[in-house]
């Protein structure tokens, strides 16, 4: 048996418990193969449990472990880094709880926070330097960890309550679908629910639109008078959040 065939045989043992490879694995193959299988599944279970503590709390240990075992069967790991393995868990949860959208959304929030935790470093812009900005030409550069996450339930409120060790609210749909901004400030990941207008503006900023273009869009949507106030408030909030790392112009 070639090395390639042997390694595929061991892969098949780990992912499907197909024992065909045992005949190539020496006299004590069953005991040894069991050790590797236990390590494989145990490590992936631990990885998911450590990556999704809030989702686990929401579902309860038993349901979470069953879902994790299902995920391990459905989606064997492929990346060189174990850190990547939890990324697809929300899709498995969505398939297992299709009528409870908050379950997958809790997992998506945790995955986004984890990604932000080890995302690229960037210092937020110093507000003291803003006096010299030409706002007609200004382009905002958002910190590289900033991402937008769609939500249709109150999963953010559930997450916040459980993280604070408080009683979470019952799951409920949001009045209208929304987005979360997820980013890292200093070393701490953060998120905030955005109104649709702010989502649109932040998307424009992320795409490289000038601040003037963002203001023009606000004016077109909400009128000149409201747009100036809205743009000012949003900019102040983004600066306070640490979402902006530089302003050109």
């Amino acid at each position: 048996m070639s090395l390639y065939a042997l390694q595929h045989g061991i892969r098949n043992w780990l992912t499907t418990e197909n024992p065909a490879v045992a005949t190539q694995c020496g006299a004590r193959a069953p005991a040894g193969l069991s050790v590797y299988l236990n390590t494989y599944r145990g490590q992936l279970l631990d990885c998911l449990a450590e990556s999704y503590p809030i989702t686990r709390q929401w579902l309860g240990d038993s349901a979470f472990t069953a879902a994790a075992a299902e995920h391990i069967d459905r989606r064997p790991p492929s990346s060189w880094t174990l850190d990547a393995y939890p990324e697809g868990f929300a899709a498995t949860l969505d398939a297992l709880w299709p009528d409870d959208a908050e379950v997958a959304e809790l997992a998506q929030i945790e995955a986004a926070l984890t990604a932000a935790f080890v995302g690229a470093d960037a210092d937020p812009v110093d507000p003291a330097g803003l006096a010299a900005v030409d706002w007609d030409r200004a382009v905002l550069h958002l910190v590289p960890t900033c991402t937008l996450l769609p939500v249709v339930t109150n999963a953010p409120a559930i997450w916040a309550a459980l993280a604070a060790e408080e009683t979470p609210p019952a799951a409920a749909p949001l009045p209208t679908p929304a987005h979360l901004a997820v980013w890292r400030t200093g070393f701490a990941p953060a998120f905030r629910t955005l109104a649709p207008t702010e989502t649109k503006a932040l998307r424009m900023a992320a795409a490289g639109a000038t601040f003037a273009a963002i203001c023009a869009r606000l004016a077109a949507d909400h009128g000149e008078a409201a747009a100036a106030d809205m743009a000012g408030h949003m900019l102040a909030q983004w600066l306070a959040d640490g979402l902006v790392m530089a302003i050109d112009g």
Binding site: Q7, R28, A120
Partner: protein, 276 residues
């Protein structure tokens, strides 16, 4: 070759504050970290590593290079490890004589190799590629194993062959020798006698557990007497070698690990006295 041994510990999260906040550095000659934990874009992990590096030499120890993969070493992995190597300027860069990845699947475990001529060609080609990508000599660690795959040479002969063909050095895990010797019924001292002593640059010490049928390399308890005894035999064969203790589960206070490290120092010192 060292003229005096050095002693280190694995840097683990429960001890970050000990290593970063004390007025005086923790009394170790180096720390070892798991490379993959720091092959990230930024954030607190890299900040911790940079600050620890300002106080201590750092060894990078990998678990995911998969040097035994029949379909080669992952290029993205090597690029990211090279970036970390350039940033940290490590004392050593090591990984295992094992495989974890095949055909888009990654087991995230140190799976065993058959010690055959074909596997030797694969491992040597992968080490050559890795050393070229990293721009430095690697240390290859002997794994614990729970399967003895039919082969054409002993593990120590395989290690000697990869050193000769690739110029790599060795990280000798004394606990892994003990565990594999127990599981597969070979003589641990014959293993020590067979390795190319001049290529051993670092030693790992750790504890293990008794499983249902086999010894398991768990790193969840102190170094046992049996491993200390084999460590002493290893030093008699190798001379002074950088030594570190791995502890990855049921992690005790740092003072406990420093006491264990003193045991290693004591054994090394007594051997030096005998040698003199």
């Amino acid at each position: 070759m060292l003229t005096t041994p050095t002693f280190g510990l694995g840097l683990r999260k429960p001890h970050y504050a000990d290593f970063l906040d004390g007025e005086t550095p923790v009394p170790v000659d180096f720390v070892e970290v798991i490379s993959e934990n720091f092959m990230v874009a930024g954030g607190r992990p890299l900040d911790v590593l940079r600050r620890v590096r300002a106080r201590h030499p750092v060894a990078l120890h990998g678990v995911s290079m998969s040097l035994g993969s029949a379909d080669g070493v992952d290029a993205d992995y090597l690029r990211r490890l090279r970036a970390l190597v350039d940033a940290i300027e490590p004392l050593f860069v090591s990984d295992h004589l094992s495989w974890s990845r095949i055909g888009g699947f990654n087991a995230h475990d140190l799976l065993p190799l058959p010690y055959t001529a074909e596997a030797l060609d694969v491992v040597c080609a992968n080490i050559d590629r890795a050393q070229t990508a990293l721009g430095r000599t690697m240390l290859i660690e002997n794994p614990s194993s729970y399967l003895s795959l039919p082969g054409e040479m002993a593990e120590w002969e395989f290690l000697a062959a990869i050193c000769a063909r690739t110029g790599c050095d060795l990280l000798l895990d004394v606990n892994n020798i003990f565990v594999s010797a127990s599981n597969h019924g070979f003589d641990a001292r014959a293993y020590l006698a067979g390795i190319p002593a001049a290529r051993v640059r670092q030693i790992h010490l750790a504890g293990h557990s008794q499983g249902a049928d086999l010894l398991i390399d768990t790193h969840d308890r102190p170094v046992p007497t049996s491993v200390w005894s084999l460590y002493e035999a290893a030093l008699n064969r190798l001379g002074p070698v950088a030594t570190m203790i791995e502890r990855d589960d049921d992690i005790p206070p740092l003072t406990d690990l420093l006491a264990e490290l003193d045991m290693a120092r004591s054994i090394a010192a007594s051997r030096q006295v005998c040698a003199a």
